[in-house]
């Protein structure tokens, strides 16, 4: 018996040996597989994702990234069917590398442009500019403007919505339940909307960094992280006061979820401003603001039975609305559709997590969620979001 014991390896050594064995076998496998596989035939798979477009007088600047498997060499460029002079990317672009092209073209404000990159193999990679608008110059002024816009569409409407708290407090439990259901409906709409936006963004990113996978990744991670945070919080507050249903915690969760959603919205505003689309914008900002007012209501709905301090309410408003500012600032500066897709995913995960958190509070005394009141609330939430969404479109 003693001999067997002396032969037994320490666990750490065993782990190391196993790990080394796995590495060696995988290495061999890679080596052999690469030799046994035939050479890839057919034309090279050339892909370029356009990550940034900067328009200045008579110049179009594109930042392109090779998202395909093979190097891409840009031979010539034509804009709206005319060959143009350009600088940049004189060498083939290796996979995942990016380059900035400066194109000499007398573009006109508001006109659409199709930039076609003719690669060395004769393939054409196109980039559409929906309506050309001069890109605003960088600087503190832009960041301040973004902060202001973020405040307009994020914080102010959320706080406005929260101002309905006194009304809520005088309402009966059924009204509160309906409002909570309304909140869930509203959030569900946002989750679907953000997921769709994220997926479309991911498609734009060319898929080099995972494409639509990024949205799911962001959503999954956000969901797990918030669940963990929520769990910790629950344990803490349960220790403090195990009997009271914790509206404060729910309100915070709702605020966090909405905040992450507003991060995405801010991101959109910032990057839209970058291409000048927000020049159209007073109506747009008003639309967003109206759209977001309902979010304030959602934040305070769980607090209907409580008397939170003004400071606490302000904090919740900031958590829910503040990220719009952050998003707008990042949106002006960020140059990667993949990152944006990931952030949209985070928003989706956060919202789904909030819905899960809110669900128990929707139960009526019989424990049912989908009673007429619940269904009415849910439907109203979805309809409100849909209708205010239309306002933004108008």
């Amino acid at each position: 018996m003693s001999t067997t014991r002396s032969l037994r390896l320490p666990t750490w050594l065993l782990a190391c040996a196993s790990f080394a064995g796995i590495v060696v076998v995988l290495g061999l496998l890679l080596l052999l597989a690469s030799q046994s596989l035939p050479e890839r035939t057919g034309p090279p798979a050339e892909q370029l994702a356009i990550e940034r477009t900067v328009l200045s007088p008579s110049t179009i600047e594109l930042t392109v990234r090779n998202t395909g498997a093979d190097p891409v060499r840009i031979g010539q460029i034509f804009v709206n069917d005319a060959y143009v002079a350009f600088t940049g990317a004189t060498e083939p672009l290796p996979r995942l590398s990016s380059q900035t092209l400066r194109i000499d073209y007398p573009w006109q404000e508001g006109q659409p442009y199709l930039v076609s990159m003719l690669t060395s193999t004769g393939a054409v990679i196109e980039h559409e500019i929906g309506a050309a608008v001069e890109t605003p110059p960088a600087g503190g002024g832009v960041l301040a403007l973004m902060a202001l816009l973020g405040t307009y569409v994020g914080i102010i409407p959320v706080v406005l919505g929260m101002a309905l708290l006194p009304v809520l407090r005088r309402s009966g439990p059924t009204v509160v339940r309906i409002l909570l259901a309304l909140t869930v409906g509203l959030l569900a709409f946002l989750a679907v909307d953000a997921a769709l936006e994220g997926l479309e963004l991911a498609a734009e990113s060319g898929g080099a960094f995972g494409g639509s996978l990024l949205v799911f990744l962001g959503a999954g991670l956000a969901f797990l992280a918030l669940t963990a945070v929520g769990g910790l919080q629950r344990r803490r507050s349960a220790a403090a006061d195990p009997d009271r249903p914790n509206g404060g915690r729910l309100a915070l969760m709702v605020a966090v979820g909405i905040g992450l959603h507003n991060l995405g919205e801010g991101l959109a505003i910032g990057s839209a401003y970058a291409v000048g689309e927000l020049a159209l914008g007073a109506a747009l900002v008003v639309g967003f603001a109206l759209h977001n007012t309902t979010e304030g209501l959602a934040v305070v709905a769980p607090l209907a039975q409580q008397r939170p301090s003004v400071g606490r309410l302000a904090g919740l408003g900031l958590v829910a609305g503040g990220p719009a500012i952050l998003g707008a600032v990042v949106g002006v500066a960020v140059d990667n559709a993949g990152i944006s897709a990931l952030l949209f995913g985070v928003g989706v995960g956060a919202i789904v997590q909030v819905i899960v958190q809110l669900a128990p509070a929707l139960r009526n005394q019989a424990g049912k969620i989908l009673d007429p009141a619940g269904v009415a609330g849910l439907t109203a939430g979805v309809v409100i979001m849909y209708v205010t969404g239309l306002v933004v479109t108008a």
Binding site: F78, Y83, A85, L118, L201, S271, V275, V392
Partner: protein, 344 residues
């Protein structure tokens, strides 16, 4: 402008063009040498691009391609000439079909199918009534033929199923017929899929002089065509005359003031229904198909469908540079434009 939708805002903003602030300036290496800016004749050309019009970056390596549009311009191949017992002139050529990757725009390769390694193929020239023997060698990996425009027996028509029909890879055949009628004609491969065989570059000009020669002139060949580099059969990415788009922009066609200039003009453009030729600051006599000695028109613009051709005759009264291009301006912007340079 259409009203902004939230979706469009999100996409247009976050997706299409992320970020306004250039986080870094251009971090590229030294600027590429601006080949497009220098002329063949040692004088500086204004830089193209932007408001100065379309332009390529760089120039094509003609040496690597094995043909130069400036040489194609006045390159007439009269063949090996001898006399038949009856006194008839016999002209013999050997034309080899081959698959060649050519540089059709600076940095852009095109897998062409060629006659004698060039696009367009050699300009074959003879006189009406001459006996022609064209030995066609198919060194390409694809079946081809030579189909000549003109009047000849069916078995010499170079189409599948008639006479010898398709010449398979490795095969060869002698097309033999009399040159009729006089005029400016074309030859091209006639194997299916026909559009692809044409679009890949298998065509050339075939000039039959009238029995009494036309007046002495500075004679030029201009064959209009294009390249569909994406092979989607939906238009072309490049339009050219004599092989390389924009070539005569930086290497103008040099002609003498007051001298008669005769242009053998043809259209072999595939995937677009018509092409045209427009000359700046001058007019020309136009002889459709060149089969009559009287011009039909005095104009500065002619239109030709695919396969149409004609002769333009003119003199330049003034010195200087005069643009010529397709008066389908899209084709011009995509390569079909150049300059005449009139010198003493």
């Amino acid at each position: 402008m259409s009203p902004p939708s939230r979706r469009r805002l999100l996409l247009g903003g976050a997706g299409v063009a992320l970020g306004a602030i250039p986080a870094r300036r251009l971090t590229e290496g030294p600027a590429a040498p601006d080949h497009g800016a220098h002329a063949d004749h040692g004088q500086a050309m204004p830089h193209g691009g932007g408001v100065n019009g379309p332009v390529f970056r760089g120039v094509v390596d003609h040496a690597a391609n094995g043909f130069d549009p400036s040489e194609i311009l006045r390159d007439f191949d009269y063949g090996k000439v001898s006399a038949l017992p009856g006194g008839q002139v016999l002209r013999e050529w050997e034309i080899v079909a081959s698959d060649r990757e050519i540089e059709v725009a600076p940095g852009v390769r095109f897998p062409a199918w060629t006659f004698n390694g060039r696009v367009p193929g050699p300009t074959l020239r003879c006189r009406a009534g001459d006996r022609l023997k064209v030995r066609f060698v198919n060194a390409s990996a694809h079946p081809h033929t030579m189909h000549f425009h003109g009047i000849h027996p069916a078995e010499m028509d170079g189409v599948p199923g008639i006479g010898r029909g398709v010449i398979e890879p490795g095969g060869d055949f002698v097309y033999e017929f009399d040159a009729e009628p006089f005029g400016v004609h074309l030859y091209h491969c006639h194997v299916g899929p026909l559009a692809e065989h044409i679009a890949r570059g298998m065509y050339g000009m075939f000039v039959v002089d009238p029995p009494q020669p036309r007046p002495k002139a500075d004679e030029l060949v201009m064959l209009m065509h294009g390249y569909n580099t994406t092979f989607d059969a939906e238009g072309n990415q490049l339009y050219a005359v004599n092989g390389i788009p924009f070539h005569y922009m930086h290497t103008p066609v040099r002609v003498r003031r007051g001298e008669l200039v005769r242009i053998y003009l043809g259209n072999m453009l595939e995937y677009d229904p018509i092409n045209s030729f427009h000359l700046h600051a001058n007019f020309f006599d136009y002889y459709p198909t060149g089969t009559r000695l009287e011009p039909s028109e005095y104009t500065d613009t002619v239109v030709q469908a695919q396969g149409q051709r004609g002769i333009c005759e003119l003199r330049f009264p003034h010195l200087g540079k005069y643009m010529f291009h397709a008066h389908k301006t899209e084709f011009a912007d995509l390569g079909w434009m150049g300059f005449f340079e009139v010198v003493e």
